[in-house]
């Protein structure tokens, strides 16, 4: 008998794979994409942080079970990789981390400390201590607009501002479309990392009220040193297939910035700034009947 499957750490994985047209199934215990001609392509699902399923894919129950068991996030995406739905929870959403995150988010003082830390990371330096969140947001907005303009100037095109209509894909200009594709890639791996570390994507600090609020918070910490320059560089080159070019360039940028190694430690650093210790289980709580085995993976993963 083979030993049971366990997830490996996010930092050891390939960031993303986009799959289109075919049926995802399990054959001989391997995750395979079978196309209508019967061509089988094995996907090393345990070595991928996030699988982006494009229109034209079907997934069997067994495939979802296997993806969950090895801790690979399945995200259903639409045209150009912009997310439609997501499912499959690679982490175990352990209660201790969830309670910690919820406690930080609900304690107004702790939340502000986390928000401030997030802005410090974005500004790469301390932020004025007397500034309110509104003021920080204003500063950040100005910085972001300036960065867009600077990057557009660097790559030699005119930037007309960030605008996109998620309901009509072709409406944006090329830089905006490249940017949407690139951020979708970043959201995919950030969601995989948030879940792998055992946190809830919905409990955000800067963002709130969306199913992926915390994912947007985390992605924003990395956006301008990874995917934004990539998207602008690709847009300036005006390639034949911009989406593919964006994904290739994002992959290089994720590797060069060692993003997968940095996401989970950064999440922990940011939450630690809240100044609240990870809560201990209450004395009267029952211990799990079957103790958890230490796996190979990140702390939140279901082993």
């Amino acid at each position: 008998m083979l030993p049971p499957l366990k997830p490996i750490a996010i930092k050891e994985r390939i960031s993303l794979l986009f799959l289109e047209k075919g049926e995802l199934d399990v054959l001989d215990g391997a995750f395979v994409l079978v196309d209508k001609n019967g061509v089988r392509t094995q996907i090393p699902v345990g070595s991928v942080a996030c699988l982006m399923l494009e229109p034209g894919t079907r997934v069997s129950h067994a495939a979802v079970v296997l993806a969950a068991r090895v801790g690979c996030l399945l995200a259903w995406v639409g045209e150009a990789g912009v997310r439609l739905y997501a499912a499959g929870q690679p982490g175990g959403a352990r209660s201790d981390r969830l309670l910690y995150q919820a406690k930080l988010a609900l304690d107004e003082e702790a939340r502000l400390k986390v928000v401030r830390k997030m802005y410090e990371i974005r500004f790469q330096g301390p932020v004025p201590s007397h500034y309110s969140v509104m003021q920080l947001r204003g500063m950040e907005g100005a910085r972001v607009r300036e960065l867009y303009v600077q990057l557009a100037r660097k790559y030699g095109f005119e930037w007309k501002g960030r605008n996109y209509d998620s309901s009509s894909w072709g409406s944006g200009d090329l830089p905006n479309r490249c940017l949407s594709s690139a951020t979708a890639c970043l959201y995919g791996i950030c969601e995989a990392a948030v879940l792998a570390a055992g946190y809830a994507p919905a409990i955000g600090f800067v963002h709130s009220g969306k199913p992926l609020s915390f994912v947007y918070d985390v992605a924003d910490l990395f956006k301008f040193d990874t995917v934004v320059p990539v998207a602008f560089r690709v847009a300036a080159a005006n390639p034949f297939d911009p989406e593919r070019a964006v994904r290739l360039a994002c992959r290089d940028s994720f590797r060069e910035t060692r993003l997968l190694r940095r996401i989970i430690p950064t999440i922990e650093e940011v939450l630690k700034a809240g100044g609240i210790p990870i809560p201990e289980p209450p004395d009267d709580a029952l211990k799990p009947a079957i103790p958890e085995e230490r796996g190979l993976s990140d702390a939140g993963h279901r082993g």
């Binding site: 794979l17 019967g38 061509v39 089988r40 392509t41 094995q42 090393p44 593919r244 290739l248």
Partner: protein, 119 residues
Amino acid sequence: MLVIVVEAAPPRLRGRLAVWLLEVHAGVYVGDLSVKVREMIWQQVVAGIEDGSAVMAWSTNTEQGYDFTTIGKNRRVPLELDGVKLVSFLPATGGGSTGVITDEGEEDGIGCGSFDAPE
């Protein structure tokens, strides 16, 4: 790290590969050589493989961490997905002269046949 696996290769090619690499298993050669030497060895494989097939994989500085190349007829063909290389396994075409279709099929000489392989 460099790995070459040959199948149905002439003995002279296998001997030649053993000049630079260690044959750790029948037809499986490993080594750790520079890009230049790797390309030289692959040229030798291309020149000497005849009706056999071979694959060479090596460590490289991509997100995947390795790359590979193949030569000769095989039901496994490389497939590139946005910068990650995977392998597609083509279905048996049923046109094999032996009439026996095994799961693997490589040794039966069931090649790509009339099947349109993806790029």
